[in-house]
């Protein structure tokens, strides 16, 4: 049984209408994925649509690095919409599809680009061990700069919150995207 009802624009409060208009007039253009759930709490949808817009369209990180970070975070949490949408965006941004396949299978991807390798190392280390040691911090700071690191952490804020929302309500991959080969939630 579905854990939520898709938000419908047919019946909206004034607050929902304001947030709805904001989203559909912006680069997203429509309500899909997590926003089908989030729009039930329009204040939450508003804040998260802004944090997502920052990460997706204002971040200083190059698209391949940003999408790799999102895919790594989405894979750690086992979040379907996030994985399906951003695995495709990552490949569109030039990431080797073999990296995405390895992540999806829960294996260790092989990188030829040192910046991609460092993004993946940083994200995996933070999620798995909860800590970044001095050496890894120094390497990340040196390659991405202060703003790059802050933008990488903004990616964690947005997509950790989104991942847990997607999983809690078991939101499926949107139409037109391939459903992942893993269940909702972390794979033991």
């Amino acid at each position: 049984m579905a854990r939520y009802q898709d938000f419908s624009p047919d019946v909206m409060t004034d607050h929902q209408r304001a947030v709805y208009d904001d989203i559909v007039s912006g680069p997203r253009g429509r309500i899909y994925g997590p926003f089908l759930v989030l729009m039930h709490n329009p204040g939450l949808a508003s804040a998260l649509q802004k944090s997502g817009a920052y990460v997706r369209w204002q971040s200083s990180l190059a698209d391949n690095l940003k999408e790799l970070a999102i895919a790594t975070i989405g894979r750690y949490w086992g979040a379907h919409v996030e994985w399906s949408v951003h695995a495709k965006l990552a490949v569109d941004a030039g990431l080797d599809p073999a990296i995405i396949d390895a992540l999806e299978a829960g294996g260790a991807p092989v990188f030829t680009d040192p910046a991609e390798a460092l993004i993946h190392e940083f994200c995996s280390c933070l999620l798995e061990t909860k800590n970044i040691d001095d050496d890894l911090y120094a390497r990340a700071l040196s390659r991405f700069g202060e703003t790059g690191l802050i933008d990488l952490m903004a990616t964690f804020t947005h997509y950790t919150t989104i991942s847990l929302t997607l999983n809690s309500f078991e939101v499926p991959a949107p139409d037109g995207f391939k459903a992942p080969a893993f269940p909702h939630g972390r794979t033991p």
Partner: protein, 182 residues
Amino acid sequence: MARLEPLEPEDMNAEQRAAYDDAAAKGGRLGGPNGIHVRIPDLFQINQEMSTYLRGTDLAPRLRQLAVMVAVRKFQGAYAWGVQARASLAEGISEEVVNAINEGKTPDLDDAMDRIVYDVAASLAEHGAIPDDLFAEAEAALGFNQLLDLVATTGYYAAVAMWVNVFEVDVPVDIPVPMADG
């Protein structure tokens, strides 16, 4: 010393200062990740909106604090743990419960609602998901809207812990319950 020091008002440029003054007028502060966010005014304003929203939901403060403590402890944010443990004590959560969460143990919770909220936050922090029976129980107890806010609170504060951990934000010296080792 922090890896990235919080920006003080006197060190801000005009744009950063305007964003900070606007937030300060509404009760915003520079503690924790906020002093880092403010380096990028747009990011600061977005996080202010999010944290203001999460503090103002219909979820009772005691329940919110239980979820926040579980999230920041799991993701080992020492600064966030310290200030949130203090805030939790101020909301009337007992020392025994705070200490149990700090030590990674399941707290003894008499109140059924407290226990459901703890279980949801702990399940999310550990497994990233909520089992069917717990979801049904939580939705019946909290209602859909508060359950959604509980989930968002857990996710957002897990990330707050990651921020203060990565940038090694200094832990205040006067907190009552410092984060335990491990």
